[in-house]
Amino acid sequence: MEQKYFRSIEELKIDIRPEAENKPAGDRQFIFEMQQELKKSTTASRRDFLKLFGFTVASAAIASSCEQPVRKAIPLLIQPEEIVPGKASYYASTFFDGIDYCPVVVKVRDGRPIKIEGNKASSLTKGGTNARTQAAVLGLYDNSRYREPQSGGNAASWQEVDQAIISQLNAIKNKGGKIVVLSATVISPSTKAVINEFLTQYPGEHITYDVLSASAMREANQLSFGKAFLPSYHFDKAEVIVSFDADFLGSWLTPVEFTKQYSINRKLTDGKKKMSRHIHLEGAMSVTGSNADKRIQLHPALEKQTVAALFNELQKLAGESGTKQIDSPADVKAIAKELYSKRGKALVVAGSNDPETQLMINGINQLLQSYGNTIDTAVHLNIRQADDRKLQQMIADMNAGKIDGIFLYDVNPAYDFPEKDKFITGLSKVGLRVAMPVLEEETAPLADFICPDHHFLESWNDAEIKTGYYSLAQPAIRPIFNTRQAQQSFLKWMGSDLDFRTYIQKYWENNLFAQGDNLTFTGFWNSKLHDGIFESGRKESEDFAFDQTAALAAQQKVKAGNADQLALVVFPTVAVGTGKHANNPWLQELPDPVTKACWDNYVSVSPKLANELGLSEFDTVNVNNIGELPVLIQPGQEYKTLSVALGYGREKAGIPATGVGKNAFGQISFVNGHMQYVRPDVTMEQLGGTYEVARTQTHHSMEGRAIVRETTLADYIENPISGNEIREEIKKHLKTLYPKHQYDGFHWGMAIDLNSCTGCNACVVACSAENNVPVVGKEQVLMAREMHWIRIDRYYKGDEHDPEVVRQPVTCQHCDNAPCENVCPVAATTHSNEGLNQMAYNRCIGTRYCNNNCPYKVRRFNFYDYNGSDALKGNEMDPTEMTTDLRRLVLNPDVTIRAKGVIEKCSFCVQRIQEKKLEAKTENRQLRDGDVVPACAQACPSEAIVFGNLNDKNSKIARYFEDERNYHLLEELHTLPSVGYLTKVKNTTV
């Protein structure tokens, strides 16, 4: 069972060694030493170094002798009692980077965070995560982190920096100047409080800048409800979901939570016969769109009128009259009927940042009685608080020299602000410029002072993502570098000696404890810190009534759009998102769920348009002066819609990110005060060059093979086997000369529900993190040598202009008759008595025969020395500095690092299986169903992956394998896979 400590390491240090206070660098020192040792170490492998707690294994072969190298074992001076050498401990924390929110549990092994899991205690995410959350741990060990404070570009001590800043602040204050704290959305009440205090002491303004803005929604709600807020949505209560380009499974508001909710109504296991219906209207192909039951291509310019038309249809159905008739490109009548028939169980959302559209959406939801059912206005969603108008005002003020001091916290406008030149010139006019970055970025160098912030895994924090949904963040490691948490800096500059932890505690004691149960506050605090979650059940007062007039007014204003011009959509990918994490190799190498491309952004063009312009794949074009980008022909893309991913084209970042792709933020425009992520009229210039984009999948058709099996809800209800009939046929033909092997005790199996999988890729990153899967870089991916142990195959079905998208996560199938095992000459891969297809890396001589003979092609070969673990030196293949000592701290000590020339593959996370078995043994009990959870299953936000013991007939996995929808991939080969798939069911019924 999971062990979470209610005290952070930091506290422990304080308890156990009072001198820790006056030796703050103690642990950091320790890590540095480890790094130095590492640099010295020649033959000692990194795994050894990580294998034993707090042991620095330095080693040098004794000169002129073939003796084994002397391995040193260096214990800590004082070993904190909670930390058992070689045993992981878990700390609840919270991941929030201004865009993504996810309560997490951090796995700390030997003093180092090595893995992030979702926190099951949260009723919002229920243990789900997404790719970025999973990858966040690698950010802690980013080589491009600022390591100490800087003043005027030179390293300085905190004292110097603080003195300078404080004196300047006072100067500004005395001359009655104004300062600005520019930050991304802050959902931490304590942080807010700190900033407010700071701004009361030094008069100024706190301005929120969200790269992905929802200010239009807030404004719309202001008009509809008289209150600018974001409500919380309940996709789980919605039977019909209509989304106008709202990528709620990928990037819209809180995708992890939404995916959880969404997947609940997509599951048909255990005899469930009901499932939600999802209609998606969009121009570019998004993750969410590709999962929809019905996807309607809609030119962005026509979105508004379509919404209006839908609104109109619904008004008609609701019997309201005097509405505006407007023709629509899509058949909104049908949609309206569906929605209206499911009044109170329907939900309509739009991704647009145009207030009028959002107003009409509000109107629609009102007509559908969504408010109070699928939309909760009493619980507000606290992300995306930015008000774009204010932001523009601030830029203007800066340029007008009205701002004397600016504090940049958790923002990087010099890279991602749409009119970044304006910002930069403005910034130069500001007297006091203080940046508080974590990673190297474009903005910080423009500041006088760089006061590097902690990584979130080093900091204390709290969060209120929704009204009454609190969570805490605590350090899982002592600061690696000489950094300081931003809030701490603010406090310092206010002249307070309070440390932020106590500040938070105080805040909670004063504001939240009252709502808590009748424990002492310490008890309350401890338990909350242990869970990381506190859901007080607080609600906002709903002292407002819905007012339809604004919506109607908006509808009246709608004019027909023009679909003949090229429209450009800029969007955040599920990988690098807005570029904050661009320097994370795991994310850079993560194939996009739709295009399967990585390491670049590109212009997605519809096949039809490509035909017309004679464009072929990888031809380079220039859209609206983004710069030279390759074309990717995207089936299902709306005829005249182009789309380019945000988050690329970093100029000042680490090695992995710098110069990858082009920066598309310039395409975001302010239309009546709100950021627009769509440009209805762009020009595209063909440059005639070609530029290859690395894709992990280059063939997109199933060639009519029964690989991903699917059916429609109607057929399924009629006959649960539908779509899977062929299986019976296949089973009949399976004959064997040899008797089957008996699996006594355990027979591990995995079932993947194709209906729940949204292709979000969280599993891929989780797997990489858990199993030390190397990052190979673009060149190698181009050569089809990526190493991911689990991949999500994506196929297009039907017409290339409007294809249907199906996805299938494929990992080692652990066949009981594994073709790979027979052919290995050295017995490096064999079958365990628990049905695992074992791979003994150290026995492998790399004939690649197993790889050839694997029908699923899930085996991966170390073509080069990707890990720097080779006996021969100087032959590493490491374009992303993953082998640097700092990065290596993320490696999982329980998993061998694979050498050059060996095959590797999914092991069903055998290290976890073994760990849990041992746990059961020591606790003298049987293993329970659900004890063992592989990384992919744990990360999955939609619980599409189920793992367990097939021998245990009551286990969930056994039930899944009994399900009529269950089938095995390429079963006709009689490989007897241990991985089952549940047929995909599309709700096409109306």
Binding site: Y738, A827, H831
Partner: protein, 170 residues
């Protein structure tokens, strides 16, 4: 050859054959016949036994096969039984190729070594070269001389068979 002998050489295998037959009829003791290439019918003329080398080969092969098979069987059932792709541990068909190869290997080597050892041939083996031209175009008959037998008689007999030349070590 530690005893006295006369050697006679011929230039043509037919003559040699004739000669050998006659000498045999005369009951002379032919110690050896040396030829540049295998002369057909010569072994009959010399009344040689059938070779037993093939038997050596057979038994060698048998042993090889047995070793090969048993070793594999032991490894897979006792030594370290491992489950390969769901195959049974004692998977006879899988053992066949190796068994066969071992059989051939042992057969071939046992026979060749038997041959070499039996005739004391081998790297750098010391043997009497009667005449450098034997390996070129000469056919040589070596007739042994017993104490009692008459030296001239034998010489005559040899000349009678049309020997081109005669030498002797007495």
């Amino acid at each position: 050859m530690n005893k006295d002998y006369i050697t006679a050489y011929y230039n043509d295998e037919e003559e040699l054959l004739k000669a050998v037959r006659q000498l045999k009829d005369k009951g002379l003791e032919i110690l050896d016949v040396l030829t540049p290439f295998p002369v057909h019918g010569l072994d009959k003329a010399l009344r040689m036994r059938r070779s037993r080398l093939s038997m050596v080969a057979f038994w060698g092969g048998a042993v090889g096969a047995a070793l090969g098979f048993l070793f594999q069987a032991w490894v897979f059932t006792k030594g370290y039984p491992l489950n390969f792709g769901g195959k049974p541990f004692f998977a006879i068909p899988s053992f066949m190729p190796v068994t066969f190869e071992m059989a051939v290997l042992f057969a071939a080597f046992s026979m060749v070594f038997a041959f070499l050892i039996y005739f004391k041939l081998g790297p750098g083996a010391k043997t009497v070269i009667h005449d450098e031209r034997i390996t070129d175009d000469r056919f040589l008959v070596v007739v042994g001389i017993r104490k009692e037998s008459n030296y001239q008689e034998i010489e005559q007999a040899l000349i009678a068979t049309g020997a081109e030349g005669i030498t002797h070590n007495v």
